[in-house]
């Protein structure tokens, strides 16, 4: 560690004030001119940042659970836990405080119209933009649906922590597409799968408890799939050609 170049070195108390953004002019001047004390502050900050990153709101209920609490949709045990947490957590209190005015804005339809008109035409939705883009995608037509643990599993696509298995069966006309998302990290049950063809959203399905979905397609033009998990993660499988 470099020694203080303008002794005496800053006390830990002074460095703590600097860390909290409360340093006075004398402390700031010392830090600006002394590499030794600046290095001590940097080390403290590194420790502080690492600690805060690890612990950030680790025990706060998910925002959706706070909402469900507000709507009386939690069972008594979960409601009691959320109530207890709310009593000590100003962050969650603040989030909940934002909910009521947001819901009450419902009556202000002028604003809503203005917003919806801004760049959305009725019945036009845009594809998701923040996605895990799947790679290595190929469609099998052997109807050997992968089940994750099956030895005969054929990996057909990877995106983030998710593996997506797909199989297509061509029919005349159209096609039948089956899929499954397997992921040890993100829960895909209840995710919404959108199927797009030629830039238009054609179908929506909800992933079942096996994280599977099926689509019957009117034609076999290339498809793009977007699958949005409840946690917000979206997987995209782009321009999948069903005819291999």
């Amino acid at each position: 560690m470099v020694a203080c170049s303008t002794p005496p070195p800053l006390s830990e108390e002074a460095l703590s004030l600097a860390l909290d953004g409360l340093a006075d002019k004398a402390i700031q001047n010392h830090l600006a001119s002394c590499p030794g004390c600046a290095a001590r502050l940097a080390e403290m900050k590194q420790f502080e940042d690492a600690l805060m990153k690890r612990l950030a709101r680790f025990d706060c209920p998910p925002a959706q659970q706070l909402t469900d609490f507000q709507f009386g949709m939690l069972d008594s045990a979960n409601a009691a836990a959320v109530r207890q947490h709310l009593a000590i957590c100003p962050r969650c209190q603040d989030e909940l405080a934002l909910l009521i005015p947001f819901l009450n804005e419902e009556d202000d339809e002028n604003k809503l119209l203005k917003e919806v008109r801004r760049d959305d035409a009725p019945n036009v939705i845009r594809p998701p933009r923040q996605v895990w883009q799947a790679s290595e995608v190929e469609v099998t037509n052997a109807l050997s649906m992968a089940r994750g643990l099956d030895d005969e599993t054929v990996r057909t696509g990877r995106a983030g922590s998710a593996t997506i298995y797909l199989e297509a069966e061509l029919r005349r006309p159209g096609a039948h597409l089956k899929g499954q998302v397997v992921d040890a990290t993100v829960d895909w049950e209840g995710a919404l799968a959108e199927l797009w063809q030629e830039g238009v959203m054609r179908r929506v399905r909800v992933l079942d408890d096996m994280c599977e979905f099926t689509f019957d397609l009117a034609d076999d033009s290339p498809v793009t799939l977007f699958i949005t998990a409840l946690s917000g993660v979206t997987v995209a499988i782009d321009k999948l050609n069903l005819i291999q």
């Binding site: 403290m44 690890r54 957590c89 919404l192």
Partner: protein, 223 residues
Amino acid sequence: MYDFSGLDLESIARRCAEETWKFLRQLEQDTRYCFELWRRALGEQIDDALRHIYLIYIPLLAGRARRHKQFAMSCGDSDYFARVALANFYRACRGARFTDMFPELAPAMKYLNACLHSAIVQDVRDNPPAPPLPEDDTGLIAPPDPSEHDLRKSELWAHIRAVLDDAQDEALSYKRFVLQMTPAEIMRAEQGLWPSTRDISVALQRIRRKLRKDDTLRGLFGL
């Protein structure tokens, strides 16, 4: 209650779109068609009804998302939040629960908008202001880090509590390190408890020294 059983899905969806158009123009509207469309999409879980719900409501939700106070602080786009809200709404209200929970459209829409709020505040929570991303970051969402699992975090917190071994230090550490409150925020939240923010910082300095001396924490954070 009006009997919609004779009306096909396409007719219901068309009427819902028309009534939504009236809603947006503040004209008198009949909400029963949209409610029936929702009932078929979620109550009966008819996929084509869900597609119509998507087409009508994703733009509406996206517009509303942009008016949320925390939208500007979020990392998501408005369509993304609309999708997450719809997915969570579907999870909570599918099947018989839909008609059990909602006798008409208004309360269902209230809860749907609340799901939208949740999606936005969760995103803001998950993406606090941070140092700039490395140049080679493409902006794609990174998979969650397994080492950041909740259990590990709660174990870390339990260790910190043991190191501090003091209820007051623990309470202050919780506010600073878990809730990420600044001394000024802590002082506001605990009116009368602290004479000044400087006193809070001094108390934190004591805590920081204890924690930095702990070998486990030093090892964990590579010091």
